[in-house]
């Protein structure tokens, strides 16, 4: 289908973007990569009166290593994350996630900020933000506001972003070399949204124990879900089997056309087993 009519503003500055958001409120939508918004417009699931295109705001793009933090601008494309040496070196978990997002012709346009702001429950990047203890930098006319990823994802497609704010950047703490991570997912085809996915990180001890494990599942609830009981079990004596059993308490997945909740729980256990093997391997 074709989108319903809208007016188009190519924002030349952040101030112009904030003005448009103020003036048009709910009627305005920011356009970043457009890889989720334009499908929604085409299907007329979204019918905004005004699109505010932020693609010209070069200051919102870029990857910088500053002290112990990798700051990634909201307009940074998935393809740029994929090609970044800083990301490969300091955030290998993120580097592993990106090629699993959609397809090359979509990763060339889609952005980190768009993915974080959209907060699709099956998306990789929100889960990575949680697994890596990232901070979301929101910006409004009044200035910047920093929100821990664990407080940012509020519900199905709901975030802590306030009217008039945009995501300006995401800050990821540099991962020390002994901290390992992986992102695994099960989907019907390469590039599809995950049926179930897992972003896992842990510090591997000399004796093979996993300290401070982080298990963030996606596609299993309204937001990315941190599996606290399984994390505790994985760090304890029970190991992988106990962690897999503990998932029963952590996850309450929905039933949908992929299958019933038990199907997703099963896939989550499979992924946890694979992730533990990867972290230890």
């Amino acid at each position: 289908m074709k989108p319903a009519p809208f007016a188009y503003l190519r924002a030349r500055s952040l101030a112009e973007a904030f003005d448009a958001l103020d003036r048009h409120g709910e009627e305005a939508r920011l356009l970043a990569g457009g890889q989720s918004l334009i499908p929604a417009l085409n299907l007329r699931l979204a019918t905004p009166a005004v699109l505010v295109d932020i693609n010209g705001l070069a200051g919102l793009a870029g990857i910088a290593l500053q002290g112990g933090v990798v700051r990634i601008g909201a307009l940074t494309r998935h393809a740029a994350l994929e090609a970044s040496e800083i990301v490969a070196r300091h955030l290998p978990l993120l580097a592993e996630a990106v090629p699993q997002i959609a397809h090359p012709a979509i990763r060339s346009r889609g952005t980190l900020g768009g993915s974080i702001a959209l907060a699709d429950p099956a998306a990789e990047l929100p889960a990575c933000a949680l697994a890596l203890d990232a901070t979301i930098v929101a910006m409004g006319r009044a200035g910047e506001r920093r929100i821990a990823a664990r407080d940012f994802f509020r519900g199905l497609y709901q975030t802590d972003l306030q009217p008039g704010e945009l995501v300006a950047a995401v800050e990821f703490p540099v991962q020390p070399p002994e901290r390992r991570g992986c992102v695994l997912e099960l989907a019907r085809r390469q590039g599809d949204y995950a049926i179930v996915g897992l972003a896992a990180a842990a510090t591997v001890q000399g004796d093979g124990a996993l300290r401070d494990p982080r298990l963030v599942f996606f596609g299993v609830g309204p937001t990315p879900v941190r599996a606290a009981a399984a994390e505790a079990a994985l760090a304890g004596a029970g190991g992988v089997a106990a962690a897999q059993a503990a998932l029963e308490r952590d996850l309450d997945p929905p039933a949908d056309l992929h299958g019933p909740p038990q199907f997703r729980r099963h896939l989550a256990r499979v992924l946890l087993g694979r992730a533990a093997a990867r972290l230890l391997g």
Partner: protein
């Protein structure tokens, strides 16, 4: 801010100026206003890849970009890439390996495959499959397409590393 937007761009190396409805997709602009009907429109929500074109050196979905966003852009379609001869080896291999039947998916396949071969001269079969995972073909069953891309890579750059 307007419902109509003035754009200047180059398409297949030629300068183009137009005033477009803000909601017009790039692929519809190419097809309907410039008569470049080689890029196809299948799903219009990013899933099928039939509309794959090259914008500013990168492949994109023509149905997920607005023509209004292309001010200053350099756009290459299947027509231009055919004319310059850039994708001739791929095209020959598609014919030789019977990698098209109805041909609906073919322009998108070729543009996507050309991008892979630009980046990676000798991709493995698995890599070719992964790369083209976002391009649907409802006819061939894909094997012949993978064969053709592999053959074109070999023709251009020698046999693939085992």
């Amino acid at each position: 801010m307007d419902r109509f937007v003035a754009i200047r761009l180059t398409v297949n190396g030629e300068p183009v100026e137009a005033r477009v409805d803000a909601r017009l997709h790039l692929v519809d602009f190419l097809r309907e206003q410039l008569d470049l009907t080689g890029s196809h429109v299948g799903c219009e929500h990013g899933v099928c890849g039939a509309c794959t074109i090259r914008v500013n050196g990168e492949i994109v979905r023509g149905c997920l970009m607005l023509a209004a966003q292309c001010d200053g852009a350099e756009v290459w379609t299947i027509e231009g890439l055919t004319e310059t001869g850039e994708i001739a080896a791929l095209q020959e291999a598609f014919v030789a390996r019977n990698a098209l039947q109805c041909g609906f998916c073919t322009p998108g396949m070729l543009v996507a495959a050309a991008e892979l071969l630009r980046r990676e001269p000798r991709p493995s079969r698995e890599r070719i499959r992964d790369w083209l995972g976002g391009n649907y073909c409802r006819c061939t069953g894909y094997h012949a397409i993978v064969d053709a891309v592999e053959q074109a890579a070999a023709a251009l750059h020698g046999a693939p590393a085992e």
